[in-house]
Symmetry: C2
Subunit: 206 residues, 2 copies
């Protein structure tokens, strides 16, 4: 599949590399087409990896990952352009990283509201990027949460993430449930500080 | 040990019954000494269970559980009286259940600030009360989080909770980390709605 990855940070590079390894064609998008992180990334993955602006990557992808920083995501998606995202799935991996609480609208909801003709699926925002793409790095199964309004879009994202190695994927419901997973961030941070490693995730034991 | 349990709801009754079963003497406190829930509870547990006002229960207990509703907790503890709680451990089980987010002060912090001579330990606020007192009801180990400023108080609470059956107890740090566990509530609610059962908890897989 052709996939656009918005964002050139560690999350974007890790997900983009995984997608290429799985045989997808990936264009990494950023504010400028000559972004240094993006071009360095492209050199590491060969011909299946290309580089462009946010708009280029959104136009290229049949599906788009939002891996920009939460504070910049709406601006990045706006630069990507509603027309380039129309009818497509946006997998929103970002966290707002602000103090907005469970009563506020989540970033996932804000993106869905700003791009009503795009199918926003919140996923992968509750663990470190190494685990996002290689969940088997932990010694036992752990849980991935998915939120989104469009059932078919969630099914397609689940299929993609199954290829990442995910087995325990829990659909929490519509995009409003992104508040729940975005609101988990303070607990994630506290556990991280306590364990001194990013290599952990939570498992829903039932 | 003599233990005061503030609150006569399901959480208070479940914890108080477990404490009696473990051989502790428990006084359940509420606004009035003749509270119907409390007197019915006392009948079920025999001589080790007694009933009184919030102040009676706080004065009675060497250690006190706050099992009141989060919205009422500060008022209940105020009625219990700072003098009756002085130097004692208060295990704060309550959740605010409001839309206050991770940027706001947690209930645990508010109680610690209001009662500076009391040792507040936040614990047990991330799962249903049946699991609080019987963690082995789930088929595998799962995690309990503890927050508090006083290390010795946390050690004593861990010992008490070990008797409940807890093995995986994670100390997150000072009482400010209660924001993290209180902020988990929306995710807990979403998982509950999705699973259709209260019989679940998260495990930190590492």
């Amino acid at each position: 599949m052709k996939i656009g990855v918005l964002g050139t940070g560690m999350v974007g590079c890790t997900i983009a590399s995984k997608l290429v390894a799985l045989g997808h064609d990936v264009m990494m998008g950023s504010r400028t087409a000559d972004n240094v992180s993006a071009t360095s990334w492209a050199k590491t993955v060969g011909a299946r990896g290309t580089v462009g602006t946010f708009a280029d990557a959104a136009a290229f992808g049949e599906l788009v990952f939002n891996c920009t920083r939460g504070a910049n995501s709406l601006a990045a998606l706006s630069a990507a352009g509603a027309a380039n995202l129309e009818g497509k799935i946006v997998v929103d991996v970002a966290n707002a990283l602000t103090s907005q609480g469970s009563g506020s609208e989540s970033l996932g909801e804000q993106i869905q509201k700003a791009f009503p003709r795009t199918k926003v699926v919140k996923a992968l925002n509750t663990m470190n990027c190494e685990l996002m793409v290689s969940p088997s790095k932990l010694p036992e199964s752990h849980t991935l949460f998915i939120s989104g309004d469009d059932a078919e879009a969630k099914t397609r994202v689940r299929e993609l993430l199954r290829a990442f190695g995910w087995t325990d994927m829990m659909d929490l419901g519509d995009i409003a449930t992104a508040r729940a997973t975005e609101g988990y961030l303070p607990l994630w941070s506290s556990i991280w500080r306590q364990l001194g490693t990013l290599s952990f995730n939570i498992k829903v034991v039932r």
